[in-house]
């Protein structure tokens, strides 16, 4: 029987690496539903979970899948689901439930071209704004964007760690290219993989308040069946978890749910910089597009354009501060993404006119070739924007 951490070197697709990352992070429940191109995450983990004492269930639809992972997490088990655009849309209401009830869980979206049924077997990055705002109401969310199967492994572990630390759903926003790409993946020894679990209550059960923040600013989480008699509701609630339908309670609850993420941007936001030190033109990209843009940076440099890449590993919360500071000193920002301008809107907003920004986008179904990015950089550097 295989262990949870399959230490070794593999030639593995992104979807499978994602499943292995989840297991390494301690995921022991997966409630899923098949959808191209995320099905393989579920298929692989369906075989692996029983080996590590976990449980897999294919639910009747994505709504049920999302509900089931929240239930499992409330029972104290780290849980995950995987889907693509149409399923992601279905999961939105319950993602809001996880946000409001501060339930840790991981949702993987292997993006494909939309809208609607779109191009099921061809990747895109068109769900990025939906990742931020897909559920109704106002809230914060954490979304990570891996650029390789190796990185999916690590970022899935990170997704669990962030979700447990901040008691929030965390989205792993990958795409079909990375999901179906087979590449070298090294899985390290278990002891080298840091895993985090949700803060746990200490002290009197009778006086325990399920939504009273602990010293970290996040409320310790009691699981079902431990005798804490907690009440958890999606209604606006106070620290006892009781629904209280007042404006004051709404303000307090929102401050807590959003504050725990907003106060910890330093911990949550991860970015990678390539040749940025003296860059005059900065490519802002993420996921598979950041990867194809690496070649564009080098090509542009060959042509004498001082290009650099800011790769967003954390896409939400958006690294506003970094964009603002870059906008002050560079001549231009280029957003490269497989959609028609979503993260680009954030880049533009944060640049606030201090530097011009340009989008190199595509409606979906294919990668953005480095050549197109180089052309844009050339046009930019000629001043033709």
């Amino acid at each position: 029987m295989r262990p949870a951490v399959l230490t070794g070197e593999y030639f593995m697709t992104g979807d499978v690496a994602c499943a292995e990352g989840a297991l390494a992070a301690g995921c022991r429940f997966f409630g899923g539903y098949p959808i191209t191109p995320a099905t393989e995450v579920a298929e692989h983990i369906a075989g692996r979970l029983p080996e590590v004492g976990g449980t897999f269930i294919q639910m009747e639809d994505e709504i049920a899948a999302m509900a089931s992972i929240i239930g499992a997490s409330c029972a104290g088990v780290k849980s995950m689901t995987s889907t693509s655009g149409p399923g992601f849309s279905l999961m939105m209401e319950n993602i809001g439930l996880a946000v409001c009830t501060e339930t840790p869980c991981v949702v993987v979206n292997v993006q494909r071209a939309g809208p609607s049924t779109g191009l099921p077997t061809q990747g895109a990055q068109g769900d990025m704004m939906q990742a931020r705002w897909g559920s109704h109401g106002h809230y914060e969310i954490i979304a990570l964007a891996p650029s390789s199967p190796q990185e999916i492994f690590y970022l899935t572990v990170e997704a669990f760690n962030l979700s447990e630390t901040y008691r929030s759903p965390v989205l792993v926003m990958t795409d079909e290219m990375i999901g179906h790409l087979s590449e070298r993946v090294v899985i390290p020894e278990a002891k080298k993989i840091k895993t985090v679990s949700r803060p746990r209550p200490k002290g009197s059960k009778a006086r325990f308040k399920p939504f009273e923040p602990g010293p970290s600013g996040v409320a310790p989480m009691a699981s079902a069946g431990e005798g804490y008699h907690i009440h958890v509701t999606g209604l606006t609630h106070d620290q006892r978890g009781y629904p209280v339908m007042t404006v004051e309670t709404q303000e307090a609850m929102m401050a807590q749910i959003m504050g725990k993420i907003q106060r910890n941007l330093d911990d949550i936001i991860r970015i990678e910089e390539y040749r940025l030190e003296d860059a005059e033109f900065v490519i802002v990209s993420y996921g598979v597009s950041a990867r194809t843009s690496l070649a564009a940076v080098d090509e542009a440099r060959e042509l004498g354009i001082k290009a650099g890449l800011l790769r967003l590993i954390t896409v939400w919360p958006f690294p506003e501060a970094r964009i603002r500071s870059l906008a002050k000193r560079v001549r231009g920002l280029v957003t490269v993404e497989i959609n028609l301008g979503q993260i680009h809107l954030e880049v533009e907003r944060c640049a606030a006119g201090q530097a011009p920004s340009l989008l190199v986008g595509h409606p979906g179904g294919t990668i953005i070739p480095p050549g197109r990015v180089v052309e844009a950089l050339q046009e930019f550097s000629r001043g033709g924007v």
């Binding site: 029987m1 080996e51 029972a75």
Partner: protein, 285 residues
């Protein structure tokens, strides 16, 4: 209000969040009775209450979870059952009780109900059927009797209601019963049996909704109870397809199905965690 009142406690106060009593349900609403019967059944059944969890959806019945002094989860509309499924599969030693309403469980939640029953997830589903969507003001539901008046069927309901025990039976439930809040003793006993039954157990409870359903159909709370007294018959041997909701013909109450078959967890363990896998070198791929 300024006179000091004797501090009285009710025998069920230990199981209630007394700081939230009186509850929000209307005068004469049967949910309170159904909820009370459920608490008594939980207490009398002998199950470990510390490991007992109540999960509900949205609606008047869904508020029940907020009043029980146990771990309780008030989830999204229609999704109490998949939430409960995830919870039960992740931690099988929990006793998971779903307490929700007819609209939540059978309209928006219908798909989840039939699948959980098919899988025989070891849950106890207590459905308060007040024949409408009460909380939102009395709209038609999948259980509203034909010709009944609701706010979205002002001319009378053109559609017919589900036969819930038949639906539960056909989907694979291993315990199926229907009572009214008037038949309180049978109801308490039935919920107790449902709790102790291994597998997907379902109890339908007919209940007055005096303010929303009742006012539009000229049925006060007492009038509803009178109907439950006069127009029902207990026939435990009735077949599920004989249990149509037809108040003119009469409603059949009783415990219709009580059986046992392997639960979802039983079969997952025996099929997906086979001994050769756990003990040997074999892998699943």
């Amino acid at each position: 209000m300024n006179q000091p009142r004797k501090q009285e406690t009710h025998p069920l106060d230990g199981l209630l969040r007394v700081d939230r009593i009186p509850h929000i349900w209307c005068p004469g609403c049967g949910i309170g009775t159904a909820f009370s019967a459920s608490l008594i059944a939980m207490r009398e059944s002998g199950i470990d209450l510390e490991k007992t969890v109540m999960v509900s959806g949205i609606g008047c019945s869904g508020r029940g979870a907020g009043y029980v002094n146990l771990d309780s989860y008030h989830t999204t509309h229609g999704r109490a059952i998949p939430f409960a499924t995830g919870m039960k599969l992740a931690k099988p030693e929990l006793n998971v009780v779903v307490f929700s309403g007819d609209g939540d469980l059978f309209a928006i939640g219908g798909n989840h109900f039939i699948h959980a029953a098919r899988r025989n997830v070891d849950l106890t589903v207590v459905c308060v059927n007040n024949f409408n969507y009460g909380m939102t003001g009395g709209q038609v539901a999948a259980t509203t009797p034909i010709n009944a008046r609701t706010t979205t069927t002002p001319a009378g309901n053109p559609d017919g209601p589900f036969n819930l025990p038949l639906l539960a039976y056909a989907s694979g439930a291993t315990y199926v019963a229907r009572w009214t809040i008037l038949h309180t003793r049978e109801l308490m006993e039935s919920i107790q049996e449902a709790l102790l039954n291994r597998g997907f157990s379902f109890v339908e409870i007919l209940s007055p909704c005096p303010i929303n359903y009742g006012r539009r159909n000229k049925e006060s709370g007492i009038a509803s109870l009178k109907i439950y007294q006069d127009k029902t018959i207990i026939r435990n041997d009735a077949r599920p397809w004989e249990l149509e909701i037809d108040f003119d013909r009469g409603i059949v109450l009783g415990k219709f199905i009580e059986t046992e078959r392997p639960t979802c967890t039983d079969r997952y363990d025996s099929t997906c965690r086979p001994k050769e896998l756990l003990e040997g070198e074999k892998t699943l791929e």
